[in-house]
Amino acid sequence: MISIKNLTVKAENGEILKDINLEIKDRERVVLFGPNGSGKSTLFKVIMGLGDYHVKKGSIKVNGKSLKGKSIDERVKMGLGYIAQKSVGIKGVTIEDLIDQYDFAYEEMKNAAKQLGIDELLDRDINCTLSGGEIKRAELFTLSLLPNIYTYLLDELDSGVDLENMKRIAKYLNTAGRDKSIVVTTHTGAILKELEFDAAYVVLKGKIICRNKPEKIWKCITEKGYEACINCDNANL
């Protein structure tokens, strides 16, 4: 379980997340809506310890343990799995090289490789010369190699991914990811057609301003735009 309380985060240009309260329960599926630049990605980065952000106030706890002072890899060992909106490419390092870094259950690895169809991508440099869908599939695969990941933070999972890839990814998350908490950000909403979520939040200007059923919020956003969310009667925080 991830528990975020009163989280306020500063970046170079001032406060970028303001008083965020959010709880992700075990096996819960949550979608975060928000326009570009609203703070969704920043929230994930702060949870993972990425970038140069300063936590001014509040706390993030995973299963009761604070993330304060933990390195990125320590956070991964605490069960957090993360896929960025734009994954970094590394020349000369292949997915196979990455596989060599872990002790993992071979059968599970084979299953994940098969489900995600990454056999032909193993000797390619990480995230270089891969399509959007291939990158997301490869990233999910490398996450599957890590033991004890029980929360997936998937930033803009549906951006740059075609329908066929999206269906494949959703199928994988519905099987291999069935025991995990899944938090997805989206600004297009395409993911809603493929995956079912328990709850949705709207992030706007660094604040969480709404919590409700995903379909309900998405309908509201598509009809009235994000600005309408501010004064929305459906807000259920």
């Binding site: 970038g51 390195s71 990125i72 960025a84 000369g92 996450l143």
Partner: protein, 340 residues
Amino acid sequence: MMNLEDFLENYSNVGMNPYIVLNDNDSLPTETSTKELQVLDIKSPAVEKFIKGYNLQKNPFKEYTGYLILLSKNSQSAVQTCFLTSQSGFKQNVKNVVIVEDNSELSIFTGCLSSTHVKSNIHNAVTDIFVGRNSIVTFNMIHSWGETSKVFPKLKVYVDEGGVFMSNYVVWEKVQEISSNPEIFVKKGGKAVIQSLVYSHPGSSLNVGGKVFLKGGGSRGEILSSVISKGGNYKTITEIIGNGDKAKGHIECNAVLLGDDGKVETVPLLKAGNSTVQLSHEASIGKISKEEIQYLQTKGLNKDRARELIVKGFVNDSIKEMPSSIQEKIEDIMSNSQGF
């Protein structure tokens, strides 16, 4: 530095025959003379008739060692050579000539080393290589000189029509000084590639570059330099001069800075002699990117492991076009080294 036995053992594994070992300024211990391949001591009287008509660099040495390798037309061969210095302060002078006649293919694999106890040796070399029409010559070099060695090779290569010359030059062990700037002259439809991978250690002074003259129509040239700098001074001055119609050339230099004290300088120079020529260069120098390290941390690796994997990746990417024997060699060295 590797000891002599290990080195010879390692290089024997490349499995090329003949295998020439040239010690100090001694004569070639065994010569090879078959219908296709001649490997002769450079001072052997028989050399004269083979090199007649070839435009060779002046021999500045009084005392020297060296070889003539001659591969007849329509033949294929691989030769392994090794230059050794076994006395401290010794000046080894080398004069080599390689002639590959038309439609042939030759791979030369050279290692250079000094025995563990040898200090302050100097290796001078003057080498001329002639690549015949539609022939392919690959010149592979892995240095393993001592920390106080100084190395000054002067290489000139003439690539005839449709010929290909590739130089793969690897400096991984610490050496005091190297100056290696081959000059390659390429005729119509020919191609020259100079690839180097250099590990610059603290206290080293390394000048590894080259010049390619694209003289013929449709000729192509590439100079690709990769450096990992832990310290010392590294400089690469590279030049491509395109004069032939539709000649194409590219210079690339990538440097990754591991220490705080290493100096890296890259000077690419492109000269186009006519409007059909196409030349380009790109360069990057910098520390390992923080984003790459953080990315690998999100895959559960700690910072040190992440850094190591990224440097290995840089090396792998630098040598991906080199022959597999070199790739395997580098992989061996990396897997035996304690980090970077």
